[in-house]
Amino acid sequence: MNGHEIVYLDDVGLRLGNTIILREAKLSLGPGEKVGLLGPNGSGKTTLLRIIATLLQPTSGSGAVLGAEIGTQDVYEIRNRIVMVGHLPGLWPELTLGENTELVARLSGRSPEVAADALAQVGLARASERRADQSSKGMLRRAELARALILEPTLLLLDEAHAGLDAEAIGMVDTIANRVVAGGGAVMLVSHEPDRLNVHRSVQLVDGTLEMVS
């Protein structure tokens, strides 16, 4: 670890109940890097992403994210620089798409206008009055990407990056990722289709450890 990495994991292991999910996962992600995370079903990609996002504590090993040692109280200080989009939509079903994005802006201390702007950028300006529970899968996914536009994170984590997005929307993933990278941040994208990832390099989860992909 040279102190400049955005994500640094050293021999991270995770055991949930009786199952080993990860063992000795090593990873280092520097500023400006865009890395793909590959691996078969059930190999632990989603879980690893949550560890990197400081939302799940590993059972062994050490690491640091944005300078904060994982498992310590320091993570509270850096969390607001991370955006993660997971399998399930992080939206309140009873609220409209507009209200949901506004909420993100408010809870992070930004002005509501930023939210409206972001929603327009992901092509949902006219659907902003639609409730989240009456929106399609792809609409929800777009609304989540709007979150990355509002928060301008230093670390962006996308699980199944292209899932549910149509041909028009899929380009946004690259655009948003490139913005983060250009701003000196890092991006990690999970996918089952390496060809669609425009990344510098990829790592693969095999048997609970991370391997380079050539």
């Binding site: 949930l16 999910i21 078969p40 079903n41 190999s43 632990g44 059972t59 048997d207 609970g208």
Partner: protein, 238 residues
């Protein structure tokens, strides 16, 4: 090996319980209540033990939060289990006693109400434990509940006490010396029994964990390895 090393405590416990039991049965009967009063030698020590056990649960909870050492969690859990059993025993013994003495199984005495609530508070604690699968998460949530519950208990106790300020003074101090000695002996015997039970329960919990660990080592595989290539895709056009 461990069992041999442990044996002294059990021998002492059995001996003390024996003496205590013998004394409980042979000590002069209570003047007013007669033989029924002998229930006291089970009832009072059980109640005392329940409190002791829940105190230990709180200590274990706090210590877990400080150290994150699973042993503390095992202590808290084991003690709570024993505590619930003995609370139940105190209640049942008390109720059996109450029927002849008070003419009914239950009255709304503060102490009774508090005991009953105590029972449910820790039943909830155990239900919470059972509902969480991951051991670390379970330990953390249970520790918080163990402490919040313990902090609340004095408040529960005093609120009920204020509510019925007409509570009868505990006659423990006014009873005859031989009876008091017997009672004391009972308390000591039950405390030893608690120590033995707790030790056994902890041992069991440790063994369970060891067994788990062994089973885990033998079949050690990473989660992802259990998902194999579909046998279906290998011959697509069957």
């Amino acid at each position: 090996m461990t069992i041999v090393r442990n044996r002294w405590l059990e021998i002492v416990t059995v001996a003390i319980i024996g003496v205590s039991l013998f004394r409980s049965m042979t000590v002069v009967a209570d003047v007013t209540q007669g033989d029924v009063q002998r229930i006291m030698y089970v009832h009072v020590p059980s109640a005392w033990l329940a409190f002791l056990a829940f105190m230990v649960t709180m200590v274990g909870s706090a210590a877990w939060l400080r150290t994150k050492d699973q042993r503390w969690d095992r202590l808290a859990a084991s003690s709570a289990e024993i505590g619930v059993v003995f609370t139940g025993l105190a209640i049942v013994a008390g109720m059996i006693w109450a029927k002849p003495v008070w003419g009914q199984f239950w009255t709304w005495e503060p102490r009774l109400v508090t005991t009953a609530l105590l029972f449910f508070i820790y039943l909830g604690y155990l239900a919470l434990r059972r509902a969480v699968i991951d051991p670390v998460q379970r330990a953390r949530r249970a520790a918080i509940m163990g402490i919040v519950a313990a902090v609340q208990i004095p408040i529960v106790y005093y609120s009920v006490n204020w509510w019925r300020s007409l509570h009868q003074p505990s006659s423990a101090r006014s009873i005859d010396t031989p009876l008091r000695i017997t009672l004391l002996l009972g308390v000591v015997a039950f405390t030893f029994a608690y120590a033995v039970l707790l030790r056994r329960r902890l041992e069991l919990a440790r063994l369970e964990e060891e067994l788990d660990a062994k089973r885990f080592e033998q079949s050690q595989s990473v989660a992802g390895a259990d998902i194999t290539a579909p046998s279906l895709a290998s011959h697509p056009h069957d």
